[in-house]
Symmetry: C2
Subunit: 269 residues, 2 copies
Amino acid sequence: MRKITKNDRIGYITKTLSENPKRVYTLNYFADYFNCAKSTLSEDIDYVRHIFSDFSLGEIETISGAAGGVQYIPSLTEEQKKEFCQHLCQVINNKERIITGGFIYTNDILFDPSITSMIGKMLADPYQKVDVDYVVTIEAKGIPIALMTAKMLNKPMIVIRKSARLTEGTTIQMNYITGSSRRIQTMAVPKKAIPKGSKVLFVDDFMKAGGTAKGVTDLMKECEAEVVGIGVVMTTAEPREKLINNYQSLVVLENVDDVNQVINVYPSK
Amino acid sequence: MRKITKNDRIGYITKTLSENPKRVYTLNYFADYFNCAKSTLSEDIDYVRHIFSDFSLGEIETISGAAGGVQYIPSLTEEQKKEFCQHLCQVINNKERIITGGFIYTNDILFDPSITSMIGKMLADPYQKVDVDYVVTIEAKGIPIALMTAKMLNKPMIVIRKSARLTEGTTIQMNYITGSSRRIQTMAVPKKAIPKGSKVLFVDDFMKAGGTAKGVTDLMKECEAEVVGIGVVMTTAEPREKLINNYQSLVVLENVDDVNQVINVYPSK
């Protein structure tokens, strides 16, 4: 094989770290791979850190000590966040999306991997330096964004079902009341999915009054787990008072006018 | 800002391409960003291509012509594929996964972003140079792997529902019979989700006789779309004859012995 250069090592390290957010690689991992001195690699990683920081590509963090190493932490500048939320609003503010009954068709957005990747980065962002064990969502439309959020945090995802599944073994099941339409719904989670004492981030596509988020919070209490944060893509402007508090949303839906065919969505802050 | 070096450009190009599989970036995109000559960038991209190929990180493809540019195509060596399938079998072959009724608990595998990323790469691999417009799956357990497959192909995902949703507008709905248990089931897809003439790749977590895959194939015909391939994570050894042919699976389930607490799963070929 050809002689390995600094360029090679920088390319390899960048590819490995950026494809695996929040995964810690030891210096030895790279040193063994390239069969070179740890001091050389230490310099290379310093260089990669500068590239990421100078070009706003995220953060490269070095963890010292025995369990130490290096990891890529996805992060966004305020400018990047603002730009993405504006883009999202532009995509949503399209009267073709209006479905009879005042709903908005969003499948193409929520199921587009390039958009969900960015949503995942956005929703994970405030929790990159917080203790989170799992990203929790409720089937089915929340799954793609929850998975991408989980990927950015390098944590497993847990999917709450709307009814218990035979293939998932013993479940903890709970009835709850939706916040806006006051209907009784069921949610179920496999008993073995959530260890006691877990800290979870709840992620969903849409929130109105917050009944589902409140339900999930209660279900997590039953599992002796704790919801440390809630992230949703879109929330409605009304009701202003939600059933839960600790949430962030990317965009706010002011109204959908079914008759005049107008959607009004704006960035959250 | 400091002087930009070749290392900087290689790091930036590598990060941008590897985070966005199958997305074509023009030479101008990078040339404008770095304010440098296209010839310089052309050399840098050549270098990145060598790094990817020499260290088995995937493929960097240059597309010439007016719509030309450069893209990262995720690909795996035979060795990497074999290793991953063996790892997957090891994880599944654990009697703690057995659920009364002869089922296997796999949520923790299918909902783990690092595993689903690799599954997505594996399932997308045979279709990287084939014309695919959408990755289709059926709710809910197939969604994470379908999303990751879609990400690796840079195509949108479409989720077939087990019943029509009010929030998804007009749907095309179909009844079908499951292959193994001969039960009548329903599947529904929003009418606006699939344009006529689309070529789709169907992805799911599990296949027994192939009744669901056959149902999806029929539903796609109703939408005047075509299933060009089927990818599943696990298929059962029996029945040997499936209701569909054009599928790949990663691992084969020989049997689950509920009484003696044994699972037997092996790599597909």
